[in-house]
Amino acid sequence: MEPCAVIGIGQTQHRARREDVSIPGLLREAAMRALSDAELTWKDIDAVVIGTAPDMFEGVMMPELFLADALGAAGKPISRIHTAGSVGGSTALVASHLIHARIHRCVLTLAFEKQSESDAMWALSPTIPFQPQLTAGAGGYFAPLIRAYMRRSGAPRHIGHLVAVKDRLNGVKNPYSHLKLPEIDLAKVEASPMLWDPIRHLDTCPSSDGAVAMVLSDAAGAGRTPRPPAWIHGGAMRSEPVMFAGRDQVNPRAGIDCATDVFAQASIRNPRRDLDVAEIYVPFSWFEPMWLENLGFCEPGEGWKLTEAGVTALDGDLPINPSGGVLCTNPIGASGMLRFAEAALQVRGMAGEHQVDGARKALGHAYGGGSQFFAMWIVGSDPP
């Protein structure tokens, strides 16, 4: 396989409503920043791979068709990926395959969501024959899984709130972050309204308009690029079924298998020791300890202890979501790619105020559906 590296990264200013731009305008903001980072132009791009969550979120069917012009794709290949919440991660992986397979030398990959153009809560709550209706959006789906986790692990109730505070304080250091809550503390989270027990208002992610773009290149391009590249050391996707009694949605097998695969590709034997930082998909605060266990950073039942001990803080020995994560910024279709891009920024040493000192190897993680779709990559400062 041809080595593949991230040589350009761009993201938008994320906000609840980006009424100053259209969908194409939002995507171009991210794409131009990624091209500028790589010091390339539209002409240097061989192909475009774009991802976004369900088309109902904007009310445009297959939006890549009308976006082709704005993305400089006319005359080029463009593919559109949709794998539920993991889509941002899957999209980056599909783009990397075009390089690994030596089909193209330089690929632009993007992901976006402009939630203000429609109503995600409505789009997430359809009546589907033979399935219980999900009238409370994602929070209503995931709250029972969190309660199951608390029961299994014996985690005390404040653990989720600790994550909510940590990620929001990290987000203050990220200039692109949607939520900026410098005054947040444990008492404020505990006092915020209960939405879906045990998820309080400040334990949940916002609805954001935003986009992210990356320029991926082969080894020759990475050798020429003006700024440090982030080399892809491994990438994996896993999906598990909807209707299967053997599933464990609290600690899903697809997540375990995906992590095992990507760690093997990157020769990571002990993720806690071998990885310097991880950007993982935490839309509700409790998913930090849950994913720490699922990813194998610790034994089952021990994740909340890492969170409580401050191991996952920006200055801890395993910083998780130094960007502020999904809890600060959630343009749904882009949230997964933002994790992948933030992991790459860290190993390039370009994360600014939320840079983890000396980060050389990082995990980007995304999940979707009912905790059943997973996409992950490992990026490093050195070539694989």
């Binding site: 396989m1 061989d46 088309d55 109902m56 009310g59 297959m62 082709a68 005359g75 290949p77 593919s79």
Partner: protein
Amino acid sequence: MARLDRKNSPRRIAVVAFAQLPNVRRDTEHEETELVLPVVNAALEAARLTRADIGFTCSGSSDFLLGRPFSFVSALDALAPWPPASESHVEMDGAWALYEAWVRLQCGDVDTALVYAYGKSSLGDLRDVLAQQLDPYYLAPLVPDSISLAALQARALLDAGGCSERDLAEIASRSRRAALDNPYAQVRKQSDVEELLAQPYLVAPLRKHDCPPISDGACAVVLAAEPAAHRCSERPAFITGMDHRIEAHSLGARDLTRSSSTRTAAEHAGATGRFDLAELHAPFTHQEIILRRALGLAPDVEINPSGGALAANPMMVAGLARIGEAAMRLSRGAGRRGIAHATSGPCLQQNLVCVLETD
């Protein structure tokens, strides 16, 4: 710039199995999982493989057709993905899922891939549903339906002297006749050209026979790299080149009488020289003429022996079915070299070209 100087020669990857449902005007009995399950089972059986043998799976479908988000999530259960599968999905015609799987196999670490697509075009008013593909700020609010847009293209081609209405009727007649030999096709009959020309316009200059039927369907394809391909098929249809391209979205920015993206894709796919047969995803009669010219097909190439999209046009499926139909004909010995094509978007905006060859 596409990479032409490959450091390693590309892996030889073949279509080794294809299965489809009979295409029908309105399927009222099956949801996603039930549409996909039989074609996945049949394709795997034909390839002498089990689910556990598959290294990568990719599917194509559209939430807007089903009128619900995450439709593909339910379809995934047809795979019974346990242990969990390495799997992806495109919100596009299944032909682009096949492209993604072909690229994945080129990476060299997996040897087989399953590709499937499903679409129920009957659930909404398809002409209006497809209008939701248009630019949401400038075009979609005008609700120009899919047939009216195709009629604009047909008018441009007629006005440019690129064809006559009789040429179009002959294409419809030939497609319906070819479909008589295809038990999965939906519009299968002898239609006399004079009778067709006597029919009223649906949207001038298009008559009903110039337009595709509304179809519900599903299909699946198995891909295998050498040497596995030879265990899965007596005569695998190797993909010797594949590429896809898109054009500007705005109809005013394009010459609708030509398909520059098809031509570019064909160049990159190495689609030159002699072909025995072509399966072109031309939902409208005039689009077959545009595509034949863009591909530079010789007059003796057999076009759409399956009946093509004029005989059955399940949305998100019909493009993948073109590749499957062409490959199976080659595997049965109907020729040695074929070309398959898929399209997406209004007036042939996006096009994929796949060259298939048997040894």
